[in-house]
Symmetry: C2
Subunit: 343 residues, 2 copies
């Protein structure tokens, strides 16, 4: 076993110890990914502080942290207000910056709002860290959307970016800011480009955050699932636990400073295959392939699946949960919590 | 002569006729480039409206339009206020979007302000056009700074972008927004990436807007010119009249819709050669090569000169004014207007 590989394994095995009694700040910590990360960090013995403004359309849900509500501090401030941030970033060992507007459709309807909640918020966070906590580890969750329509698959980080909606443009700016503050002020920032993340606590009530949530809600409500386009578009899906692992691994690895990494899956699926996996679990589910609504079509990116070998090499990360297992967990979770999430 | 070439020539020869009695809006029209464009458009018989908020550090100067003050409408509004814009974009044939913060150093000191005056302003303009004037021709002036440090010279538009300061990031977002609104809403937008533009009306009083202005002021004040680094960094310089021609040509050519173009020069010069050209004109000028101040060094991009063949091919544009002629005009202008510009 190479020394490098050995180091990665030891870091991975010690992942728990790295967070014990550590102070962690999670922006957007009441959202799907933020709350899942908060729960895991509480298990690992960290002191977790959450910032979330609970903007109604953004996906934050106080039910997400019910099981840890006694153990986390929740601060209901808005990252657009830098004064609140200055105090909150102090003395934190880790800062996970997950807050933001993530709906591509909404970003086109209200581009200024998307700019403010993504870019102004990010600049405020970075400026606060620069001034009050330049040693914190800082992880920014970006999105595959920054690549736009891609020609070479799977997509590696060296492919040129070409965002095709306002949200993609603003998330890309957020990446650049993080890298700039690393290069210029030595902030220990890392960018992860997430792909389709799914799982318990995902926002499925509205249609704002991607087709996975919509399909799960339609399945639970026994509605016919509507697939836009022809359903052959390829995607990679990450179960939430794998994404939480990726966030933790990236945060404890020095080789991640100033770097951008794709996440991705071991297998890719067409959207129809994804729905058919739901159907396997809930046989009463039906689906129909329908034309793209015009407003969605212009911002559709076609096939996408990412090459995550760079991240694997540096951290040893591999997604572990296959899609059938992940969807089973998700459907079980949501069927047990109808009022909190979809009814 | 090919038909294509003929068409370009005819368009170029008819450049004047294209603007006669046309309604033109120039954002940042009291600045260096905006005012020079306004003067030229007045000569061509256009009806010019200027928007400028005259933010003290941004370079707007009411003296810039003294010779056309009776013939233009000046609106002192701020593009961050969308309500003012909605009325102003209506019924305009051409909109040149030049307003913004252009100081790289200032963008690092106040990143949020740079974001607001560049990105929020641009989104407001595009949203206003989408709603109230989707047929206007729309030209956005961006900057070579979006490329960051480059490896292949000369730099063509196909080189990956990699901005290395806040201003570069925000100008790049402005480009993406313009292209997005072209693709999504068919706005007739074009992006020009300017390189070092110099000439009469340039802001030379402060050190905010690049070394050319600083050198000219130091020369006029008979101060020793201070060159940072070793002075061998290569640059391409465009005289203002050539840039105004580029703006006009791009605005009347349908093949420019939705495209990005570099400007550039026929010859490149080291910074020392540039200063030595000033010395040729004003022999009493001295210079000294000094170390980079730390804050400037981290955002220096090294050598840069652009490949403008794409723009030449589409519009026939070539820069016409050599550096000695251009600098002579500039030094003469500024020595005739000390109080308005540098004393």
């Amino acid at each position: 076993m190479s020394l490098e590989r050995r180091r990665i394994l030891i870091e991975t095995l010690n992942i728990g110890a790295q967070f014990l009694k550590k102070d962690v700040l999670i922006t957007g910590g009441l959202g799907f990914i933020g709350s899942s990360l908060a729960i895991k960090l509480c298990e690992l013995g960290a002191n977790v502080t959450i910032i979330d403004s609970l903007i109604p359309t953004h996906g934050g849900n106080i039910n997400n942290i019910r099981e840890i509500s006694e153990r986390v501090i929740v601060n209901y401030s808005d990252l657009r207000d830098i004064e609140a941030l200055k105090g909150l970033v102090r003395d934190k060992d880790y800062i996970f910056h997950l807050a933001g507007q993530v709906s591509h459709g909404d970003s086109m309807l209200n581009p200024r709002n998307d700019l403010e909640v993504n870019c102004i918020a990010t600049i405020n966070l970075l400026e606060s860290c620069r001034e009050y906590n330049p040693n914190a580890r800082l992880i920014y969750t970006s999105t595959r959307q920054v690549y736009g329509e891609v020609s070479d698959l799977p997509v590696s980080e060296s492919q040129p970016v070409s965002p095709i909606d306002v949200n993609g443009i603003n998330k890309l700016s957020g990446e650049y800011y993080h890298l700039l503050y690393h290069r210029t002020y030595s902030l220990k920032s890392t960018v992860l480009r997430l792909t389709n993340t799914y799982g318990p606590r995902q926002q499925i009530r509205s249609n704002r955050q991607g087709f996975v949530g919509i399909f799960i809600r339609q399945a639970l409500q026994l509605e016919e699932i509507k697939i836009f386009g022809d359903g052959t578009q390829l995607r990679d899906f990450n179960y939430i636990d794998d994404v939480v692992d990726a966030l933790l691994l990236s945060s404890i690895n020095r080789d991640c400073y100033g770097e951008i990494f794709n996440l991705g899956a071991l297998k890719k699926y067409s959207i129809i295959q994804f729905v058919e996996t739901i159907q396997k679990i809930l046989p009463s589910v039906n689906y129909k392939v329908v034309n793209f609504p015009e407003a969605r079509k212009v911002i559709d990116i076609g096939d996408y699946y990412g090459d995550f070998s760079k991240f694997h090499k540096v951290t040893g990360w591999n997604p572990k949960v296959d899609i059938e297992t992940g969807l089973k967990h998700s459907l079980k979770f949501f069927s047990e919590h109808p009022l909190e999430y979809w009814k």
